[in-house]
């Protein structure tokens, strides 16, 4: 869906966006947090290969933390931030200053305060990305607070998701603090208009730079 130049450009853009989110988060939790998006893809969900390790999160059974943020007006879609529950717990602990490198999936208990912390983290991160995309495209944007859910994913759930022919921007995300590395995934489901605008804008910029 994206050629190498477009991929590079998009990766650079979202890394600037999440860098701002990381600064905000670092200020709140008073610790240096680094956020990085090593890979960005634009895919059609129905084309995802379940055997691809990068999408392991989709296809493994178990508890999943999911935050979703709906946005609309000219730039339209829905963004999701997802972590396996034990990774979400490590992230909440990181923010609350209770450093734990690993959490036993069986022992993973997300308390109310953990969920509030995760809601705020996802709010900061998704706002930064979506807001900056809006600015980049010079499109009017309205969005609400994210909804958070703790889901139990069974083997058949991802198969249902795969039947939908939706285009999504996939951002492979990692949070780094001290020796801890929490990995999650951000999915941004975009309307066809929004995708076209994004590609057009990128192509225009690339043409300006590369002729």
């Amino acid at each position: 869906m994206l050629n190498e130049l477009q991929k590079d450009m998009l990766t650079e853009l979202v890394n600037v966006y999440v860098g701002q989110a990381a600064n905000m988060l670092s200020e709140i939790v008073d610790k240096h947090i680094v956020l990085s998006i090593p890979e960005v893809e634009l895919i059609s969900i129905s084309d995802v290969d379940p055997g691809d390790r990068r999408y392991k999160l989709f296809f493994s059974e178990g508890h999943l933390f999911r935050s979703s943020l709906q946005f609309g007006y000219d730039f339209q879609g829905k963004a999701f931030l997802m972590f396996p529950a034990e990774q979400a717990k490590v992230l909440a602990n990181m923010c609350l200053g209770e450093l734990t490198e690993t959490i036993d999936p069986e022992e993973c208990r997300l308390l109310d305060t953990d969920l509030d912390v995760l809601k705020e983290v996802s709010n900061i991160l998704l706002n930064a990305i979506i807001g900056e995309f809006g600015n980049f495209l010079e499109m009017k944007l309205e969005y609400v607070l994210p909804d958070i859910e703790l889901l139990h994913v069974t083997h058949s759930d991802p198969q249902i998701l795969l039947q939908n022919d939706v285009y999504v921007l996939v951002l492979h995300t990692s949070f780094l603090l001290a020796d801890t590395n929490v990995k999650g995934i951000i999915l941004i489901a975009l309307s066809m208009n929004s995708i076209s605008s994004l590609l057009e804008k990128m192509n225009a910029l690339l043409e300006e730079h590369h002729g």
Binding site: L111, T113, D116, V117, Y143, V144
Partner: protein, 321 residues
């Protein structure tokens, strides 16, 4: 209808305030009046940063600017921010816990920010207590697990020699049969009895007798493989399982070795004590395939050695035993 909305805002169980782009307060609801002790007449028209100094922090000014100019909604958790609005008489921000929602509002082409404050003090205390309770339960659970492990060890081991006891030996014997059966394996059961132990007890006393048993256990253990097992059945009776034998003669070789290890006298409390062993052997599956029978046949073979002058070993023989 407007009157009803105003009444509702006054009674709603959360703080709601609205500010304009100059950060001037234009709505200050009943909850905020009751919580801060500041009436709406005092607050409306004032700059938010003067009314609630916590908003002077850069990060909160950014959040407000993002709502007022970019239309961004924002959630701030009490776990990370503690409190935003404090009562006049108690400005200890560590005591209160509040969640904050900031939402943009629009009217006549102007934008505003609505700030909602939810009191989370009780919830946080509950979560804090729950966290402590979970930690305590974890500690207790680990203690129980350790003590269960210790009890299990005690119930399966002899306290004097540290060897497995009769109960543990029986379990191991069943295990040996279950593992030998499918692979048509062969193993031996040795019934070991020390010779003249009663006399040692009578001559030197029980304390010396106990030390002799400890040394006996040590020498037996040292002369078998790690895959074999030795147990103390009672008094001066021991039993050994020799696993995975190639032929019956292997068991006799081990018995020779065990006997030889007792040629050197046992030194206890300045006494030099000579001890020998009488050993009976039964073989699975040649002699029996039941745990109790294997042990009984080994005992009977050992008894033949005792009758014939002690110190030595004998293979079970159905005609002679």
């Amino acid at each position: 209808m407007d009157n009803l909305v105003i009444q509702a805002l006054g009674k709603i169980n959360m703080g709601i305030l609205i500010i304009d782009r100059q950060l001037k307060v234009i709505l200050w609801n009943g909850w905020l009046e009751r919580f801060t002790g500041k009436s709406k007449e005092e607050v409306i028209g004032q700059n938010l940063l003067e009314v609630c100094p916590r908003f002077k922090l850069n990060m909160y000014q950014n959040i407000l600017q993002n709502a007022l100019y970019q239309g961004q909604s924002r959630f701030c958790s009490s776990a990370l921010h503690k409190a935003f609005i404090l009562p006049k008489e108690n400005e200890d921000e560590h005591f209160f816990k509040q969640n904050m929602h900031v939402e943009p509002l629009y009217e006549n082409g102007r934008s505003y920010a609505m700030i909602q404050i939810s009191d989370m003090t009780n919830t946080s205390t509950r979560v804090y207590k729950l966290k402590n309770l979970i930690k305590e339960l974890d500690v207790e659970y680990n203690k129980v697990k350790i003590s269960e492990k210790i009890s299990k060890h005690l119930s399966m081991h002899d306290s004097l020699t540290g060897l497995p006891n009769r109960r543990a030996f029986n379990e191991r014997l069943v295990w040996a049969i279950n593992h030998a059966e499918p692979s048509e394996g062969r193993f031996a059961v040795l019934f070991v009895d020390t010779d003249g132990f009663k006399q040692i007890n009578d001559t030197y006393g029980h304390e010396v007798g106990d030390q002799v048993l400890v040394e006996t256990a040590k020498r037996l253990k040292e002369n078998i493989r790690s895959t074999d097992s030795v147990a103390r059945l009672s008094g001066d009776e021991f039993s050994i399982i020799l696993n995975q034998l190639n032929d019956d003669h292997d068991a006799e070789v081990v018995c020779e070795k065990l006997g030889a290890s007792f040629v050197v006298p046992i030194e206890v409390s300045g006494y030099s004590i000579n001890l020998s062993l009488s050993i009976g052997i039964s073989i699975y599956p040649r002699h029996a395939d039941e745990p109790a029978e294997l042990l009984r046949y080994a005992d009977q073979a050992m008894y033949r050695i005792k009758k014939n002058g002690k110190s030595g070993y004998a293979m079970y023989d159905s005609e002679r035993d």
